[in-house]
Symmetry: C2
Subunit: 287 residues, 2 copies
DNA sequence: ACAAAAGTGTTGCGCATACACCCATGT
DNA sequence: ACATGGGTGTATGCGCAACACTTTTGT
């Protein structure tokens, strides 16, 4: 192909419109399953996110959520799945589209949109690259300022990501402004050790998860096939960031699980019955 | 700039990655406010969507939701706002990101992603171009098929869009498959008279709206400043597609509205008190 | 024996549902 | 007078919060 022909082709492609680059970025979450030190104490349940250290500019050596430029031959969701499989080796996971991030300055190179996906997996599979970081959240008090046409809520949120000695500190500010018709929710990054706006993407993922576990079954994607009710409760508590009352939790969750003829023993206390996800609880609740 | 320089610039831009085109597509909704024929009957409340007839290929002469290629100089949301303002002339509206549609074949020209936005407005402003179409939904029964690892739910949905004599008929099939870990929600277009996959985008918008009115204030963006409780109830019913009980509705909604010292009279029945949105009901409900 | 978790029972409150009933108005 | 929507009251039942209590195991 001559220079001229190539030029023409290239030019015609972008005659009218400049196209942005588009990536998929995947927030992959799971629960820890540390074995307990005390022979009868319960293992701690903590949410973890998979991060990979970047090898190239921009943000070289910073940790980032696994992502890649989209494959134009695939539907969007499949690009996300492919990315997760290639970068981490995971094969079995839940995924859903989270949000599309498109601030002008989110990538220093050029205009890059990021279609973020929320990925949930349990800890039965190991990952081929990347590390799991414990998620540690500290929320400040919500500060309220009333304005003439509404109000502004401001909240600072510190998110520490911990893998052994490595502690990645991040702080964001969540602003919710109510002003006449408009409702503006804005997440500002105060400081972050993650690449790009990935701390913001992570925050969106955590919020989505928090909202969804109340009225969906997604949480079971974070658990092994069989689990005890206390394990399940600890998972709820880790996501919701609050303590639940045991008796009430058991009643509430009953329709979503099925007891299995198996117990966890040798724990220094009464054996725990194992349960599994009642995949069709929604159906039975329709009438 | 010489041919060579331009070539280099163009080429370097796409050295590694082919970029897709990206549009914003805006589902703009409002309520009708037909005046009633009968002197004491209530005016009907119906959801309407703004559609514009396409002037060019592809889908020339088909109706479409207002959209445009994104402006690389603006954040995504601002591209959407700009699009709505330029195409319809609306200045005052609520907007939120809906979903990003990225099937390979959704645009016959080339790979085009669509970041869809949900826009809500009341009928105080007129639009400069485009027409309002009444939304008429008929949902078939949900068909359930149990499978080995879960189940599949299938539902056909007919969406007719009506503007005077013009009736745009559309039918989609909503599949929800539960299969082990995976939950796959798929919307297939069976037949549509709208451009691209816009009927699918409209369906997503209606679902989002339905879910959101329960736990947010978005519905007030569809209403004028002052309204009667029965008007408000009719709006809820139109979105939820079900009848509500009057007494209970009034109790439930009480905290979200503030009575105004004004009444609607000359209606052949007891005057209706007007209410306005209590912009800070959430705050008072925090404790 | 006792620590720790597993699991059940009870009580009271609040809220949603369903329905009955009265009020005010224009024609 | 009456149709129509505006608006209030109340009984019933369910679900959830709170808390007390019993059971079962390993060391």
């Amino acid at each position: 192909m001559s220079l001229n022909e190539t030029y023409n082709q290239l030019y015609s492609e972008r005659r009218n419109i400049k196209n942005p680059s588009v990536t998929v970025d995947n927030v992959i979450l799971r629960f820890t399953n540390k074995s307990s030190e005390n022979y009868r104490k319960l293992a701690e349940k903590k949410l973890q996110v998979c991060l990979i250290k970047r090898e190239y500019e921009p943000f070289e050596d910073n940790y980032a959520v696994p992502g890649m430029f989209i494959d134009l031959e695939l539907p969007l969701g499949s690009s996300a799945k492919k990315c997760v499989q290639e970068k981490t080796g995971l094969t079995n996971f839940y995924y859903e589209q989270l949000y599309t991030f498109g601030d002008e300055q989110r990538d220093p190179r050029s205009r890059v949109l990021s279609v973020a996906y929320l990925i949930l997996t349990n800890n039965e599979e190991e990952i081929s690259s990347g590390k799991w970081f414990d998620i540690d959240i500290k929320m400040d008090e919500i500060v309220l300022k009333e304005t003439e046409q509404g109000y502004i809520q401001t909240q600072n949120v510190k998110i520490n990501l911990i893998n052994d000695d490595v502690v990645l500190e991040n702080e964001i500010q969540v602003n919710f402004e109510k002003k006449n018709q408009e409702e503006i929710k804005q997440v500002k990054i105060i400081n972050s050790t993650l690449a790009f706006d990935h701390i913001k993407i992570l925050y969106f993922a955590l919020e989505r998860l928090k909202n969804k576990i109340e009225y969906t079954d997604v949480i079971f994607n974070l658990l092994p096939k069989n689990f005890t009710l206390t394990e399940l409760k600890l998972c709820f508590e880790a996501i919701l960031q609050e303590k639940l009352l045991d008796a009430n939790f058991r009643r509430k969750i009953k329709s979503k699980v099925i007891p299995v003829e198996a117990f966890v023993t040798e724990k220094g206390h009464r054996p725990s019955r194992l349960f599994t996800h009642n995949i069709s609880w929604k159906l039975n609740n329709l009438e």
